[in-house]
């Protein structure tokens, strides 16, 4: 069996971890306690496993953990600061944009990637960014609204 020691930045902190060659990034993130990272389809279709790699959304079910060496990973757990929720998290709660919640961490990470690039996205830009995030409960309307509301709040802060 092959084991490898890798280091990367996880939610702003350096971590060193021993991984197996066959372990995917999602496996190691969950092992490290990042339980917001969910496994839906395992093959890149549903987006529940999306995290940020150097600020860009990627599917952690399609990447080997070893490929994260020396890179920077952000999961939902890294968004709140000193107990204060991120504007996206607050907006999802205020607008009741989540039902079962399984898809929401992936959606918030895609939305974070989008707002970091396009601070005031249009509805079309939000929907386009979310093409790879499936939600079987909400019908997306509230999700889009929550992302717009978070963008506006950030703009006025």
């Amino acid at each position: 069996m092959s084991w490898y020691k890798i280091s990367f930045k996880l939610n702003g902190e350096h971590v060193s971890v021993i991984v197996r060659g066959r372990e995917r990034l999602i496996d190691v993130l969950r092992r490290l306690g990042m339980k917001s990272v969910k496994e839906g389809c395992s093959v890149g279709d549903c987006g529940t496993c999306i995290v940020l790699l150097d600020g860009e959304p990627i599917n952690s079910c399609l990447m080997l953990a070893i490929q994260a060496r020396d890179r920077e990973i952000t999961t939902l757990e890294g968004l709140s600061r000193g107990g204060e929720l991120h504007p996206l998290q607050r907006a999802f709660i205020e607008l009741a944009a989540s039902q079962c919640g399984f898809c929401i961490p992936g959606i918030i990470m895609t939305a974070k990637g989008l707002l970091d690039r396009v601070p005031q996205p249009t509805e079309e830009e939000i929907r386009h960014a979310l093409v790879g995030n499936l939600c079987r409960c909400t019908g997306y309307a509230k999700i889009v609204e929550a992302i717009r509301s978070a963008a506006q709040q950030r703009g006025s802060e």
């Binding site: 069996m1 092959s2 490898y4 197996r20 060659g21 066959r22 995917r24 389809c41 395992s42 093959v43 890149g44 279709d45 987006g47 999306i50 790699l53 860009e56 959304p57 990627i58 599917n59 079910c61 399609l62 990447m63 080997l64 070893i66 490929q67 060496r69 895609t110 990637g113 386009h128 960014a129 093409v131 790879g132 995030n133």
Partner: protein, 297 residues
């Protein structure tokens, strides 16, 4: 027995040894020596699903993502060069400075996977997987070539058919920059609005002369004969030297209808694919001609 939504049971990725080269020389030595038969992993978006399906069971992988120097889009002396590790999203953004005539790359933002997939999927991985994949068809109409390296040296092969040996790696794809009066197009008909598998894709390069006569046209379809992707050479020949117009496009699509015979499968019948190929091609030519002429032709 367990079942799954895809009709196949995902398997665990097999136990793997992974080699992590940080220099091209080390990679080539490994592939030609102790790592013979190892599979390359880049973005992982084809190879991980293939391992989960059980279609591929490598014992050794080489992760090439450490070769950061293979991520670039450049323009030197009339040649556009794209590094093998360039992500599809990077290719999309390069259109801002490469020029709007490379709409075929811009269209990937709409038609290629989802944003997260475009951030992972690489140009080299797409070409190497081949078949009906989107960039394969796009490079066919751009007449792009793959630069392929091994310990024995370097060779150049068509990007749409690189036919790699197990000790080889694609380092870049390059093509001659399209001059003025040229435009490219890419369109895909899919069952889902996006992130699905295309039923029909059309890639196009059109160049008109100053009198709006077709100087050169290249059309690639994801299925020309059976499941084979390729160019619609007879339709291209028919169109060359003619002025774009309603009647002439109708006749050209009749030529294409006789030329192609796409295979049926559970996604669509061959008949449907043939009809859709004609419609998408016609729209692509009209759109490209409009962009070149500013709407005059």
């Amino acid at each position: 027995m367990a079942c799954s939504a895809w009709g196949w049971l995902p398997r665990e990725i097999p136990e793997l040894e992974i080699y992590l080269p940080s220099r091209m020389g080390d990679l080539l030595d490994y592939l030609a020596g102790e790592g013979r038969g190892a599979s390359i992993i880049a973005g992982g978006t084809d190879i991980i699903p293939a391992m989960r399906r059980g279609a591929l069971r490598p014992r050794r992988l080489v992760d090439i993502t450490g070769l950061r120097e293979l991520r670039y889009v450049k323009h030197d002396n009339g040649i556009v060069r794209i590094g093998a590790l360039t992500a599809v999203s990077q290719l999309v953004s390069s259109v801002a400075w490469l020029g709007r005539r490379y709409y075929c790359f811009k269209a990937m933002d709409i038609h290629f996977g989802s944003w997260s997939i475009r951030n992972m999927a690489t140009v080299g991985g797409n070409i190497s997987s081949g078949g009906e994949r989107d960039l394969v068809q796009v490079f066919h109409v751009l007449e792009g070539y793959a630069r392929i390296k091994s310990r024995e040296g370097e060779r150049i092969a068509p990007a749409w058919r690189p036919e790699l040996r197990e000790d080889e790696i694609i380092t870049e794809v390059f093509f001659k920059d399209l001059g003025k009066n040229s435009w490219t197009w890419f369109n895909k008909l899919e069952m889902r609005a996006a992130n699905g598998i295309g039923i029909v894709t059309v890639s196009l390069m059109l160049r008109l002369d100053d009198n709006y006569v077709v100087d050169e046209i290249r059309i690639a379809l994801n299925r020309v004969r059976g499941r084979e992707a390729g160019r619609a050479h007879e339709a291209e020949r028919f169109l060359t030297g003619k002025r774009i117009g309603y009647e002439m496009l109708r006749e050209a699509m009749e030529v294409m209808e006789r030329e192609i015979s796409p295979a049926s499968d559970f996604r669509a019948s061959g008949e449907f694919r043939r009809e859709a190929s004609k419609i998408l091609t016609r729209r692509a030519i009209e759109a490209a001609a409009k962009m070149i002429t500013g709407g005059e032709a």
